[in-house]
């Protein structure tokens, strides 16, 4: 009797589970259609429009935007490892008629974290191979300070007298905070290895973009962490809860650096902007995987980790930014070996 009861209960349970799964399949069809029609998740999109002010042609290289000081744009070149500074009024970085291009060469095969300190007009270059922070003058590219960090690090960022680094430790990521005194002596302050009960085993980047805090943004996870210089930490989630995609490497193909396979990462482009963390959406932006025809959608999160609103950038046709940087009311988009400079008009 008991066996019969258990068997019946099991069959009934299996039937119930299968009906739920059938219901999910039916719901999937309509939701998927709706998702694609709505171009992503519901967002608070601020009415905004952009005017193209300038378009600067770059050479065929792999670049990222480091920052803007006065009228100069700072780029990192990967094919010829270097930091390049060009006046934003320049038309071409390769043209010989412009001679106001400054270059700071980097060591090949070295791993760097580079950031532009717009306040002190310096560039901080962290070399994770030599464990040295070199501070150079952004105007003339001359070295002003050289500080050696005792601990190994993979990525680093400096905000005032505070340094935040990441270190791989038994496949877990460890964030370490240091203070630099007036004599450039580095003192360890605190480490963060378990955040919100989740081990941070995802690779990402630390940024501060001259705001008043750091952000650690993993590439492959819908998370970000806001860390202030008093070592308070806040965990936030990006609105697109995209899980991990295939990790890809940059490889040399003939003369170009290319990705070993198509990139599908959650957070690829992000910067601080007026104390908001601006993250380009991986879903709602135009990607070859999602068949969604927005040009670019940038989601803004406050430093408490909450989503606030999104800016839709209807830039030039078919522009897919490799990187972006927002300063004051100007947006610098790096795409197809060009820098597009837009004025953003956001309606409050």
């Amino acid at each position: 009797m008991s066996i019969l009861k258990t068997k019946n209960f099991l069959i009934l349970g299996l039937g119930f589970v299968l009906s739920i799964l059938m219901f999910m399949v039916i719901n999937l069809k309509s939701s998927k259609k709706n998702f694609l029609k709505e171009k992503g998740f519901t967002r608070n999109i601020k009415d905004s429009y952009v005017d193209l002010i300038k378009q600067n042609q770059l050479g065929s290289d792999h670049y990222t935007l480091l920052g803007i000081i006065d009228d100069r744009v700072y780029l990192r070149s990967y094919n010829n490892p270097s930091i390049i500074s060009i006046p934003s009024s320049n038309k071409s970085v390769t043209s010989s008629e412009y001679n106001d291009i400054k270059t700071y060469d980097l060591e090949k095969d070295h791993q760097y974290s580079i950031e532009v300190d717009e306040i002190n007009k310096n560039i901080n270059i962290f070399n994770s191979i030599t464990q040295v922070l070199t501070i150079i003058n952004a105007d003339n590219f001359t070295e002003t300070h050289r500080i050696t960090l005792k601990d190994r690090f993979t990525r680093a960022s400096k905000l005032g007298s505070t340094i935040l680094t990441t270190t791989d430790s038994s496949y877990k990521l460890l964030l370490k905070m240091y203070k630099i005194d007036n004599n450039h002596k580095v003192t360890f302050v605190k480490s963060f290895n378990m955040l919100n009960g989740t081990s941070m085993n995802e690779d990402g980047i630390i940024i501060n973009n001259n705001s008043n805090c750091f952000a650690y943004v993993p590439f492959y996870k819908n998370s970000f962490y806001i860390i202030d210089t008093l070592s308070n930490i806040i965990h936030g989630k990006t609105i697109d809860t995209i899980s991990t995609g295939p990790k890809t490497d940059l490889i040399m193909n003939k003369t170009k650096m290319v990705y070993s396979e198509p990139v599908r990462i959650t957070n690829s482009n992000f910067h601080f902007f007026n104390n908001f963390l601006a993250v380009e959406s991986a879903v709602a932006s135009d990607t070859p995987y999602e068949n969604i025809k927005h040009n670019s959608l940038i989601d803004l999160y406050n430093i408490r980790g909450n989503y606030k609103y999104s800016i839709k950038v209807n830039a030039e046709d078919k522009i897919k930014p490799n990187d972006f940087y927002i300063k004051d009311s100007l947006m610098y988009l790096l795409s197809n070996n060009s820098i597009f400079i837009y004025k953003i008009h956001i309606q409050e």
Binding site: S2, I3, T6, F9, L10, G13, L14, F16, V17, I20, L21, M24, V25, N27, L28, S31, K32, F35, L36, F41, N196, G197, T198, S199, N201, N222, K237, D240, T241, I242, S243, T244, V283, E290
Partner: protein, 138 residues
């Protein structure tokens, strides 16, 4: 299989499932906002069912944990656990192969797994639950 081996196997599976359900259910309660937020973005669950689903999952996980604590109710606990893992496996399979995007709504350590690792974890847990169910004395 000799009875004493079956018993030992069942004890291990029982502790494993207890850990999984207690840990994940409490983590879902602790980060409930985030859990709801992630369920909201699932293409498999309609919006009006998100709240009841979230509550039902937590209640089911806690109920299974309680059922696994007592010898008299262990068998039913293993069975419901197996059924729940079939549902979770089906959900992950559908999400992984048919969803246009992948939200993650899992708690704690399990949340750090990739979707493929998650699928393997759930299939393994389903198999273990039914092994323990069949080993449990009638």
């Amino acid at each position: 299989m000799p009875i004493h081996i079956k018993k030992t196997v069942n004890v291990f599976i029982c502790y494993f499932l207890l850990f999984v359900f207690v840990y994940t259910s409490f983590d879902k309660i602790r980060t409930y906002d985030s859990f709801i937020n992630d369920l909201n973005k699932s293409v498999l669950i309609p919006n009006f069912l998100v709240f009841p689903t979230s509550i039902l999952i937590i209640i089911l996980e806690l109920t299974i944990s309680v059922l696994l604590l007592f010898n008299k109710t262990k068998k039913i606990g293993f069975m419901i656990s197996g059924l729940l893992f079939i549902l979770f496996t089906g959900y992950i399979f559908l999400m992984l192969y048919f969803s246009p995007y992948l939200p993650c709504s899992c708690g704690g350590i399990i949340g750090t797994m990739t979707w493929n690792q998650h699928l393997v974890f759930n299939i393994t847990s389903t198999v273990l639950s039914f092994i323990a169910f069949s080993n449990e004395k009638k």
